[in-house]
Subunit: 412 residues, 2 copies
């Protein structure tokens, strides 16, 4: 079947569909607001399902609202899966998630156009509520499918208006669908924008993603004693900002010591009572720690916690370090990574091997089926933002790689 | 008149009056909520004026609501002035300001009891809105009296409900009083709690206050670039918290370099968007800088600004440093400081010479008349707080020193 290596997706069709989905819930600045299980989210799903049915696919949903679109194979084997999500952040972009869904559909369309049948069925999945923006649990649908979260727990999540996931699933007609349950999957691939600047910075169109970083977030609270900024000598203060002055450089030094892959982010900080005239009585901040290597990740977390304890101990200020979020790293399956490498070789694109810094639905699929991911660059590394952008050429290149990785894996 | 040196105030009467005023607008935790120009503020003023009239004083108000209570002297000379304020923070204490007013009245009562007449008249002032809590300009009444602020500007200040100072002055009957104007004052003294821990820490009852620190507050804004905490390598970030890690230790080093009098306070800090998952795009913080010596104060401000510029410049992050509040230091009059020293010698109390870390109404009086202040300890240095506390013995000791300083200055 040597002619297959010359097969390429229809980049124009893919782009038009990306723009058509992006127009559903489009924002003033050209992004999308299609939060999970809203009418906008449902409208995008129906657009997608219409194209999928026109492409001859069978369609099924589960009770978590996950959609499974299947192109039959030559044989009744476990399918090759791909997919991502159609929901967005409140001021999200047109690519995060959507590219992975429409890229999967484009693979099917391309094979239809070329009259190519695969041994294994191909399946494109739309996972529900990947963003966790409206309902505060990211990657919810894939977690429920995989068994990492119960359907009950997912249904009980509520948005700020008090509307639950269960309410919305019932309203949109998913409630009566069969309960989510993992089926056998031969291989799974997820195509996604990088959401970081590495590929763009290197001028390279394809990321072969070998895994996902270990990551966790920690809350630091340092207690001090409020006092007047004027009359209180420095030596008599119990100032949590003085502790910060000691440990903040140390936190960044931990990232440096584990460069280039170690990451430390302080995204939230608050000093109470927050008056310019008063030494704070309490300082709170969050520290997000990430590294692809489990041993180095553990060392980083330990070193950050030790730096905080050392600084606060020296100043005699009570401090707590609490892990409030944790996502263990994922190492993707060698055979799926190899399939992506082979696809890169066929398409001739330059590539980098990367570890994902963010979590994706693929993380929930990976424990159940051989899985890997493909990244394409996004402008300035920006995502979760109306300015999020990927070029038509990069979207097509990534989908070409997805096509050949799926073809590779779809052999019996 | 050697018998005068044995004269002491009636500490019990002083204490009972402190508690009686403190009971007006008393809070659940034993503090006072008597914000400027409220009914509670007015009730405390009326209590004070009743005692003053009973003590044979004449009473006048000005259109800023400042109250001037006068005990006639032997001769029609410029008076010796004392006083402070009766308004409090929303959760204020029973001593900040009140001690200075009731201490002044107690001096008059003590002289009445002893049948002592002074050459010069004695005057006790209640300044309006010293706290700047309800209407956001501290030391307002004394500023208007001194000419540092116009009556119009003061009347235009509004509280959060939109009620203006002018509305309240009119409602309480001050609007029709003569416009505020400085009169000749021979000497002025203000008795106040220290609002800091120095006297208590040293176990000393009297602070001879030689001046007020130079002080200013600055807003630092560092611009960065929001990005995802996961996919963005440290080297490609534009993270304002990294700049903070560099300049925050430097700010405290500036205070150290000007120890023990230099003070640097970072009371407010905010990182946007404030998500644990996102490198901040913007960091804002305030820096309060204080030193009693003008040259050292200037050097500190310069060094702090330079440290911020250096750190942000190294990282290529745009940053601004804006002074948004400034109170030049005050050096009190040598003859008033000497009068307090002489009074300390007469009463036999231990004393420290101090520079005030906070501003007081005395700062507005000082440009127009020889002025100084007397401090007494407050528990744990706490002020602007319901827990604010001074002992009866310390209140009496400070008032004894005020008595003898005023007697000294009241000689023709």
């Amino acid at each position: 079947m040597t002619h297959l290596s010359t097969l390429r997706v229809n980049g124009d069709r893919l782009w038009q569909r990306l723009m058509a989905v992006g127009a559903v819930g489009e924002t003033a600045r050209g992004g999308s607001n299609r939060q999970a299980l809203t009418d906008q989210d449902q409208a995008a799903r129906e657009l997608f399902l219409g194209w999928a049915r026109d492409a001859g696919c069978s369609v099924r949903a589960d009770a978590a609202g996950n959609l499974f679109v299947r192109r039959a194979g030559r044989r009744e084997l476990a399918p090759v899966m791909t997919g991502s999500h159609l929901d967005t952040q409140p001021t999200g972009g047109k690519f995060d998630g959507i590219l992975g869904v429409l890229g999967g559909l484009e693979v099917i369309e391309t094979l239809n156009d070329a009259g190519v049948q695969t041994d294994r069925p191909l399946e494109v999945v739309v996972w529900t509520n990947e963003e966790g923006a409206r309902f505060d649990t990211a990657m919810m649908g894939s977690a429920v499918w995989s068994g990492a979260m119960t359907l009950e727990d997912a249904r009980a999540l509520t948005d700020r208006a008090g509307v639950s996931v269960g309410d919305e699933l019932d309203r949109l007609g998913y409630g009566a669908a069969p309960p989510p349950a993992p089926h056998e999957v031969a291989a799974a691939f997820e195509l996604h924008i990088e959401q970081g600047p590495v590929l763009e910075d290197a001028g390279i169109p394809i990321g072969v993603v070998t895994g996902v970083q270990h990551m966790s977030r920690h809350r630091i609270v340092v207690e001090g004693e409020e006092c007047h900024a004027g009359p209180t000598p420095m030596a008599l203060r119990r100032d949590p900002m003085m502790a910060l002055a000691r440990f903040l450089p140390e936190l960044y030094a931990v990232a440096d010591a584990h460069a280039p892959d170690g990451r430390v982010t302080i995204g939230f900080i608050d000093a109470r009572p927050g008056s310019g005239n008063t030494v704070p009585g309490r300082l709170e901040l969050t520290v997000d720690v990430r590294h692809p290597d489990a041993g180095r990740y553990d060392a980083m977390v330990w070193a950050c916690e030790a730096a905080v304890a050392e600084a606060c101990g020296t100043l005699g200020l009570p401090a707590t370090w609490t892990r409030f979020w944790h996502a263990p790293g994922v190492t993707f399956a060698a055979r799926c990574i190899d399939a992506v490498r082979a696809a890169v070789a066929i398409t001739g694109h330059d590539h980098l091997e990367l570890v994902s810094g963010a979590g994706h639905d693929a993380c929930n699929v990976a424990p159940l089926a051989p899985t890997s991911m493909i990244f394409v660059p996004c402008r300035d590394g920006i995502s979760h933002n109306e300015a999020e952008w990927a070029t038509p050429a990069h979207c097509a290149a990534g989908t070409d790689v997805l096509l050949h990785a799926m073809l590779h894996a779809a052999r019996a």
